[in-house]
């Protein structure tokens, strides 16, 4: 387990991905600061801001952290998670080292479990980096303070646990991405195939979720409740959608992780 963690931490792509994740909030903060004064024209809660959070980004460092999470939870976080989990097994297969790991006296499911645990751990780190980087960059740029939400004001003491809960929800909302990527990872020797395949799937699912003609079908897409964390900003916290979002992940995670283990335990390692 530690060996696998060190192996992943020694990889440049791990650090590039984590650093990139950390950098995005900083870039947004710099862009807002640089644009300040000149760029107020497109305000008014246009179509690009469904949550109504972006115009509050500059209220405080915590606000900015929240906005960072909102901005990145839709696509960037799933991509990073897909990278960490989609490449876990397929890269070993690509290097030819998978067969040596499997010829060790370790059950395949345990090996797979370690790979999954480390991939998930790195994904969690990526999710955690977003608000951390956001709060640091935001506090430097906009100062410390409570969180202004579309529903009111939260004191910092109350906002921080909620931010943590939001991040936990965002992380769990990408569980299906991790499961799909991991399953694809066990089926191919090409890490790019597993990662890109997952990203394509994420995009397709998000597009489907945006097509209102699909009606109630959309409710069963794993991204349908992806902004339910907004309920954590309201007072009192609204949890119905949140609960649905949490449960919505379960079938996808069970099915795709089940497929991954089922397939990997039986597969002939030819690579």
């Amino acid at each position: 387990m530690m060996t696998e963690l060190w192996r992943q931490l020694a990889r440049r792509r791990t650090w590039v991905a984590l650093a990139g994740t950390a950098l995005v909030p900083v870039i947004i903060a710099v862009a807002i600061v640089v644009n300040d004064g000149g760029g107020g024209g497109d305000g008014g809660g246009g179509g690009g801001d469904p949550t109504g959070l972006f115009e509050l980004a500059t209220a405080s460092g915590l606000n900015f952290a929240l906005v960072s999470v909102a901005a990145m939870s839709g696509f960037l976080v799933p991509v990073v998670v897909a990278l960490f989990t989609g490449d876990a097994v397929s890269s070993e297969a690509g290097w030819g080292s998978l067969r040596y790991l499997l010829a060790r006296p370790v059950p395949r499911s345990r090996l797979l479990g370690r790979k999954l645990a480390v991939g998930v751990l790195l994904g969690l780190v990526a999710v955690a980096i977003v608000p951390l980087s956001g709060v640091i960059a935001g506090t430097i740029a906009f100062g410390w303070g409570g969180v202004q939400t579309p529903f009111g004001v939260l004191a910092a003491g109350e906002a921080i646990p909620r931010l943590v809960a939001i991040c936990a929800y965002v992380a769990w909302s990408t569980a299906w991405v991790a499961a799909v990527a991991f399953w694809l990872s066990t089926t191919t020797d090409a890490p790019v195939g597993a990662v890109a395949g997952t990203i394509v799937l994420v995009i397709v699912v998000q597009i489907l979720d945006a097509i209102s003609a699909l009606g109630s079908l959309r409710e069963w897409l794993p991204v349908h409740e992806s902004i339910a964390w907004l309920g954590l900003l309201a007072t009192p916290v609204r949890t119905t959608d949140l609960a649905r979002g949490i449960l919505l992940q379960v079938p996808y995670v069970v099915v795709f992780l089940g497929l991954a283990f089922w397939h990997f335990r039986r597969k002939d390692v030819l690579s």
């Binding site: 998978l98 370790v106 020797d189 030819l270």
Partner: protein, 910 residues
Amino acid sequence: MDFRSGRMVAVVAAAVVAVIVLVVVVAGRDGPDASRTDQRIMVADGIELATTLWVPDGVDEDTPAPAVLLAHGFGGSKASVVDDAAALAARGYVVLAWSLRGFGASDGVVGLQAPDAEVADVSVLVDWLADRPDVMRDGPDDPRVGMTGASYGGGGTLLAGAADDRIDALVAVSAWNSLPASLAPNSADAAAPGVLKLQWASTLFAAGSTPGGLAALAPAPSAAPTASEAATPSPGPADPEGAPASPCGRFDPALCQAYAASAEQGRLTDKAAALLGRADLPDRLGDVTAPTLLVHARGDTLFPLSESVANATGLATAGTTVHLAWLPGGHAIGTTEGNDDIVRARTGTWFDRWLREDESVAVGPAFTSVDRAVGDDRSGDDLVPSDATTIWALSGDGTLAGPDAATAGSRSWLNPPGGVPAALTSLPGLGGFADLLPPTDLPGQHVAFDGPALDEDLDVVGAPTLEVRVTSSTDGVVLFAKVLDVAPDGSATLPQQAVAPVRLDGMPTTTTITLPTIDHRFAVGHRLRLVLAATDQAYATPREPAQVTVATGPGSSLTVPTAPIAAADRVPLQRALAIVAGLVLAVAAGILVARRRRRRDDDSAPDPAAPAVAIRGLRKTYASGFVAVDGVDLTVEPGQVFGLLGPNGAGKTSTLRIVLGLSMPTAGTVHLLGHEVAPGHPVLRHVGALVEGPGFAPYRTGMENLVDFWRAGGGSMATAHLDRALDVAALGEAIDRPVGTYSHGMRQRLGIAQALLGDPPLLVLDEPTDGLDPGQIRGMRDLLASLATEGRTVLVSSHLLAEVEQVCSHAAVLVDGRVVASGPVAEIGGEARTVEFRTDDPDAARAVLVDVVGADRVQRQGPGLLVDVGDDPVRVLVAALVTAGVGVRAVTPRRRLEDAFLRLVDGGRR
């Protein structure tokens, strides 16, 4: 294989995407197409209305469909409702849209839904639909028909529903309850003269008298359900209007005069009130029998939210089925994003339920208030579900206090001469931007009473009431009452831009003011602020100066209807978390149990008595049907160096993969050191392997790769015998460079070193000399020999015969997945000994040799002669040649194994 499976994944992914796209395209289609026909229908003498009829594809006299009458908003025309008509037609309804009298290309004058004009027209249109064979019928001259419309059309829908009971379902959007009370409301006494809503009245009058209507006054506050449609003045020959011929435009002249008089007087004249009262609903709602859906925007400042409540309660009192839906936004409901979709969906399901009489259609609870905050809807089975009240009293210190804590006294304000400047609270037609407008009250012209900061959220649903005693320096007084939401930072917002105008006569007086109906959450930390103001720009206000005073104290009370804030229902969340936690626990328990069982079963000690490798009846058929291994039996005893020979594709590597547990046999068993092998079996701890070339993480150094590999197997570095492995690798400094920089041979040596980690008693090496130079091959040979002398067992596959012959004690030859020979290398080579003679004179030599051994044992091969020497010593043959004078250049023994191999391969294939 990897290439093929990769391509397979790509193909499957592409197929999935294609199917999804197809589903989306099919599902996204707008239902059946509809044919449109424009025609003029005569509704009264000399009055024709311009109409458009939509008939969905597949609807004809054999399969008739219900019809829907679709009325437009004030200032619009049938062109304003094209999108709504298309949406209804797509649901399978025959839709008849028309331009109301005085609008679009229709004849007549605008009568503001006069019963004998616009309302009577609807009955004529119902008659007209009754004659159409493609419209379903309830009886002779009674078609199955619903009606919908917004604002002007919404009020018209309710009026028509009251006038003509052949209409079977109604959806009224942004409808009034009373036109006079909406245009000149008095919140102290609805029956008494009110305060003229000057801005709205002007806007509407302009809309009715200008070609293009309200649409010309963007952003359109028009009642048309879609702003975009309303903004398209109906062009073409159907709309031949020019500029208005008179200041009254197409208004009924009587209405026009009444308006002019009202605007002049700043109050609705009796005549105007009477004319507007023709379209009053309160007395007519009892005649409505059709199930009715009322849709209203919370921020409607023309027909305030209270109008929808009055309509809903009026219908409910009469026993009519009624549902009430509140949406965000202002009077022009479509200018708030998302509302159109909601209205169309609700309208469609309402008609599906009541026109198609489909009881399976869910129309939802009787009351819904959509999107009060992001994603926060309110719903209930009661029409306006407030069930508790909070009471404050106006206190002399300008606060709202508890009824007992209020201090008696008074507060005053001035009405400015001429009524200007005036407070600004709302602008007609601002639509979705209205919320951005901060309420402005002028100093001295208002009094404010601030409540305490709320210690919990307060949901106000319904109309607060204010009981207060008012005195004035004049006989009559106009004032504007409103409730503001004050945030902790002091900024104030006016929920729904709602203001209650009050006209009081006979000073002093004690009165009860009904404040605007709102659905608003005052968040924790916020305050309620009651404001009584002298002026409001939206209204006509008296011009004479006055000083107005309200009494404070326990008797001056503000009663606020509230809804209980549903304590967030945490049960689903807890349940969801419990389910997820349960799953995690179950998986963790499964892992623990599996681990414990494994530990119990972990008896991997090599059995010294058993063969090192025992393969029995091994078969391997790949998914493609290719049989790689076809019944192999092999036994490798401890201490043997066993060579697995065979041409490419003979099944060597497939066999070794199964031996190592990398792939599953189709049939047969493999025992290693006495244990039947399975993937990841503990006995693999005692096996070192190199299969199909080395495989290392390219970004890690050689050393790190060895360490990772060993640790992945769960061994401690103390048992790794790393030094021996490093000696074999002989990589020197390069061991600390990333493997990505290694040459093929360096990687091969690192692979062999990896196989030697842990000093395993059994080594499985697949083509170990691949990529090595001759010197290294020799080193390899020496290594294998020394391993053998240490008592290790080595199973080595190769297609290089010299290697096997020189190193191996035993060997097996595989051809097409079968063992064609097996045993000690000497035995496979066979008893026959062949020697090649190179001489100066092959012909003479042949004659000599044939004499000695016989013709059948001498064979010409190129420049040399192959002789099966049998038991004859070679020196005898050499002596015979020398004696015969034939010069002998070279005598070399022929490779026995090579011969045997080629013979076996040929034989095996036959």
